[in-house]
């Protein structure tokens, strides 16, 4: 294992079949297959470490740029049973090209956009619940006798 970095939550190591020199992979220690299964906190942490590692790779390997890639699902190119974040240090002549050709079927695009818009606008992050203040336990109970006196006084 060519481990580079270890953490409480994740491990980073060099890929055995790299696309470029210094191709690293970040994995959570808790094995989960896709992003949607991870908690918000974990995924945030993973992205943060990817961010940090990308800057480290940038400094050490003399790269001109970095890519962070998450392939989520078999159709996207995921190969192993755990979710992985790829960090690729890039230089201009490394033979990789991630530029895509634009999708041409406009109807499909519009349909997808409409659907996504309707869904994503509903995303509301539950804010931290306001903590309920505990009722003070030492409330003085009205003296029974005093209460009776008051009630008697009110009588005409």
């Amino acid at each position: 294992m060519n481990q580079i970095y270890e953490d409480e939550k994740c491990i980073a190591y060099l890929c055995k079949t790299p696309a470029v020199v210094g191709h690293t992979i970040i994995e959570p220690k808790e094995k989960q297959t896709i992003i949607e299964q991870t908690s918000d906190e974990l995924f945030g942490h993973l992205m943060q470490t990817a961010n940090m590692l990308s800057s480290m790779l940038f400094e050490t390997l003399g790269a001109q740029g970095t890519n962070i890639l998450v392939l989520n699902g078999v159709e996207a190119g995921q190969e192993e049973n755990t979710m992985q974040i790829h960090v690729l240090p890039r230089s201009e002549k490394d033979g990789l090209d991630f530029r895509w050709s634009p999708f041409e079927d406009k109807e499909k695009i519009e349909i997808a956009q409409l659907k996504l818009k309707g869904c994503s606008e509903k995303i509301v992050f539950s804010k931290a619940k306001p903590t309920i203040k505990e009722l003070p336990t030492n409330v003085e109970k009205p003296n029974s006798t005093a209460w009776i006196e008051k009630a008697l006084l009110r009588l005409p």
Partner: protein, 299 residues
Amino acid sequence: MNDAELQEKIKNMSPEELLEFQKQNCVFCQIVAGKIDSKKAYEDEKCIAIFDINPAQPGHILLLPKDHYMLSAQMPTELTKHMAKVIKHISHCALSTIKTPATSIFIANGPAAGQMSQHFMMHLIPTSSRVFNLPKHSATDLEKIAGPLRDYINKKLGLTVQPKQEPPLAPKAEPKKPVKEKGYLYFVDAQGDISRAKMVKGGKKQKQKKEKVLKVGIKREPGLLYYVDKNFEIKSAKMNRKGKKASRKKAAKKSKKQTKKKVAKKQVKKVTKKTISKKKKNKSKDTKVSLDDISRLFT
């Protein structure tokens, strides 16, 4: 304005002015401000999601931070965590509504990596067919890269500098010292350890086996008597030699030993000589033919 003039202007700017200049020229900052129309998918206090003009797949979304950052490394940690959270939820939406089998998240830092704009962004692409192909090369010397990288990262993060904090050790339980038993003689032996031997009553001389009790390893000095205390500690006292020097005695002992050895050697030599000579004599006896034997032959 000429390009040369522009470059000079940029050089003379302070970093704050540069940021503002970049903001003015950044397309995405204008989108965030609302000066350019766009199809928004999601909006938040910190970030905004819009649909890409040239989508790779239907439903291609760009997630932008509202402030201007060029690279992911410049962003504060809270923002990255927040954006990760948002993009996770959006990808969940894509999976559930468009019903694509997979999504991919793409971040590019620097023009060499394929960043087209000056504004940092995360791409979310719902994919039904592959968009990103990672070629596979066989790696030969991964350890060569991994070693220095690990060291560098650890140095930067200050991981190796701070050794792992060991949990505070409970006060060491002192090894229980053996107690002196009755009927044994405790003494300090030649190795400086404490050992014991059984004492015999009634003046019977018998060789007793020595047992080692404690390993201490004290270096013995000449002229001192070493003994074992009541509390099982080795103590020493000066010996009184009545004015005689220790060296003479020892020398005498040594010489005696040496002479003994010499004598022994001599004796061994003598014995061997004798035995050899006896054998020779025996042989000579055998070879001599007695007269009687000859007479027997003739008769």
